[in-house]
């Protein structure tokens, strides 16, 4: 389809290319957008030179390092970029377009999980998608800007090779740089809570032996708000569950705690 048109500047946006992802999904992409992925552009140009172009059959460009979910996002971002063959607008139109793009970008980032960002950056780098890389790199920089050292280590999977006393000395010396940053735990909690969860009703499980015995002190009977529900509404195994404690002093005061 696309390799029949030898036109280097596709004025007709109907020219399309097919990209195949690592999970064998096929994507039909407008040539103008696909050309922003310089790796694809290079492949296409190499194809043009060879005899394959003369064949006139559709070429599917394989992208073994890119997953379909990631490519979807990169393509939709690529579509929103100003096209290289667009007519220059006056200041007003430019401003409105800029605002629209900013809104779109913010929307895109809102629904993004930080882990996905790393995938996007890897893929954009592989595809040599300069505008995308710039945008996602900036987004990642903004994301980690106020985070703690622990968060960054965990996020990038970096092993801490500092000795504890070295690290402490550094933190003391540059205490001002460690002020006012988001605590690692809070960051994790926020991320955890941002994920949507659904509860599915598994149904009634029969034939479990031995049957669970509810502790004598747990409440039984009807739910005060809805008598169709019997208490306990939710149970978990275990009695005398303790909170976490430090190794130095156990909860029982004994030498060993099992």
């Amino acid at each position: 389809m696309s390799n029949t048109s030898e036109n280097p500047n596709p004025s007709s946006s109907s020219a399309k290319m097919t990209l195949k992802t690592s999970d064998n999904e096929l994507f039909e992409v407008e040539e103008a957008v696909a050309m922003k992925f310089c790796t694809v552009k290079q492949y296409f140009e190499d194809e043009k030179d060879s005899d394959v172009a003369a064949r006139g059959s559709t070429t599917v460009i394989p992208l073994p390092n890119v997953h379909s979910a990631v490519l979807t996002m990169l393509i939709s971002y690529g579509k929103k970029l100003p096209q290289s063959n667009a007519v220059a607008d006056n200041h007003e139109e430019e401003e409105t377009k800029k605002k629209e793009r900013k809104k779109y970008e913010q929307g895109l980032l809102k629904n993004l999980m930080p882990g996905e960002l790393l995938d996007l950056i890897s893929a954009a780098n592989y595809l040599d998608f300069k505008e995308g890389l710039e945008f996602f790199n900036q987004a990642l920089a903004d994301h980690i800007q106020n985070k703690s050292v622990e968060y960054v280590r965990k996020f990038f999977g970096i092993k801490n090779d500092y000795e504890p006393h070295e690290e402490e000395k550094y933190r003391e010396e540059y205490a001002w740089a460690f002020e006012g940053i988001e605590c690692w735990l809070i960051g994790e909690l926020k991320q955890f809570m941002a994920k949507t969860k659904t509860l599915d009703i598994a149904g009634t499980l029969l034939g479990i032996k031995p049957a669970l015995i509810v502790a004598s002190f747990s409440v039984r009977g009807l739910n005060s708000l809805d008598s169709n529900i019997l208490k306990p509404e939710m149970i978990a195994p275990g009695e005398n569950i303790l909170a976490a404690w430090i190794n130095a002093i156990g909860p029982t005061g004994l030498d060993s705690n099992t």
Binding site: A69, L118, D119, A141, H143, N146, V152, Y174, W176
Partner: protein
């Protein structure tokens, strides 16, 4: 098609060259903190190539520093409002709303000082400590300073200095120029020009024939642009006429640069930099302000004209307008001494007041970049680390010594006198 589910892959290995590209976008505070992440990140962030990339990254942040008389330095910086996750919303003027004190070392508290010049995030400050005075190279973003050795016959705050980067040798130079105050008031004052290269850490006089026949007012800051230092000087034949004096850092020669043309023959009232280019303004009381810029000292192009704004909002102090920097929306932040700040947007032709907390008055304004450049850049890494720690921990002791007026020799102990002389 249903919405794509996020890929449950383990953290992918990012290619090596992506990490610097991400880190160069971060502010200095974050980078100093992230030096602690791992040893490889530490060597990356302290490498001179990364510091250079970070400094010259196009979106790098400018700090407005306000020097006050006998009070600490104030910094107005682009403190981004942090929002959870990805919702970074920058406020209307990039966070230029609050001034914070910058002086963890009590370097200048209660002491008269002047900022004489700045370059790449380093500022050159002269402090009058009541004894011999001090000449300090300071990077307020990373909170490091280094005392420089004093030249002979040092008259502290009445001296004229400039700071710039000489790309031919890859090092910073501090230049001492003739001061008009000293010329008038000090007996036996010989105007001479001396240069200190950070690597050599010694003062070196330039040949007498290269010394310019001008003297500079001590309260003028040197402007560093186009590989040279610039000052405004009074013309010898007509004291009411200003000229622009240029000192080439590489060649170490002086030259007078033609001022931008003006139909009303107004004087250049201010010289500085905007976005890295040399910038001069023409203005007069109650008149409009023309801002010119030049990249090569020969041709001047008019950058903006700030018109006279009618009405009670208008400031009559047009002669004190100092353009500072651009905001992300394209407006220019202007400081007006004794009044405050305004922003002017050239395309929308709008002047709006910019309220900055904690600022009442100031003596000098300096716009410098936020950078990781260390004043110890020329020193051996080990010695530099030692001095860093000394700077941090002996700060309060330093001040105490200043107040007690200990001898110059003892003050020298805390100044950096090591560092191999450059070949």
């Amino acid at each position: 098609m249903e919405a794509p589910t996020p890929t449950p892959t383990p953290t992918p290995e990012l290619p090596e060259d992506i990490i610097p590209d991400i880190l160069k976008r971060l502010p200095v505070k974050s980078l100093v903190r992230f030096r602690c992440v791992s040893k490889s990140w530490h060597s990356l962030i302290t490498s001179s190539s990364f510091i250079h990339t970070h400094l010259h990254f196009k979106k790098s942040r400018s700090l407005i520093l306000l020097a006050r008389y006998c009070e600490t330095l104030l910094s107005i910086g682009p403190q981004q409002q942090h929002q959870p996750d990805f919702n970074i919303t920058t406020t209307a003027v990039d966070g230029f709303q609050k001034a914070v004190e910058v002086d963890s070392f009590d370097l200048v508290r209660n002491l008269p000082y002047y900022v004489k010049g700045h370059c790449d995030g380093l500022i050159c400050v002269v402090i009058n400590d009541g004894v011999d005075g001090a000449l300090v190279l300071w990077n307020p973003s990373i909170r490091q300073y280094k005392r420089l050795p004093l030249p002979r016959n040092f008259h502290s705050t009445r001296e004229v200095f400039g700071l710039g980067f000489d790309s031919t040798i890859g090092d910073y130079k501090v230049v001492r120029a003739p001061s008009s105050y000293c010329q008038m008031k000090i007996k036996d004052y010989h105007p001479q020009v001396e240069v200190l290269t950070l690597g050599s850490n010694t003062w070196r006089k330039i040949p007498d024939e290269d010394t310019p026949p001008f003297c500079i007012e001590h309260f003028f800051q040197a402007t560093n642009a186009n590989g040279a230092l610039y000052w405004l000087v009074a013309a010898n034949d007509d004291p009411f006429h200003c000229e622009i004096l240029r000192f080439d850092l590489a060649k170490e020669k002086f030259k007078v640069v033609p001022s931008p043309p003006d139909t009303f023959h107004r004087n250049v009232s201010w010289l500085g930099t905007l976005e890295g280019s040399l910038c001069a303004i023409h203005t007069q009381r109650l008149s409009y302000v023309d801002v010119w810029t030049s990249k090569d000292d020969e041709t001047w192009t008019k950058l903006i004209t700030i018109p006279r704004m009618p009405g009670p909002e208008a400031s009559v102090r047009h002669s004190d307008y100092v353009p500072l920097c651009f905001t992300s929306s394209g407006a220019v932040v202007i400081g007006i001494k004794l009044e405050g700040f305004v922003t002017y947007h050239p395309i929308e032709n709008k002047v709006s007041k910019l309220a900055v907390q904690n600022v009442e008055h100031w003596l000098q304004e300096t716009v410098c970049a936020e950078s990781l450049v260390s004043p110890y850049a020329a020193d051996e890494p080990a010695a530099a680390r030692q001095h860093q720690m000394r700077s941090a921990h002996t700060a309060s002791r330093s001040l105490w010594q200043l107040i007690l007026g200990l001898k110059h020799g003892v003050a020298n102990y805390f100044s950096c006198s090591s560092g191999d002389p450059r070949q």
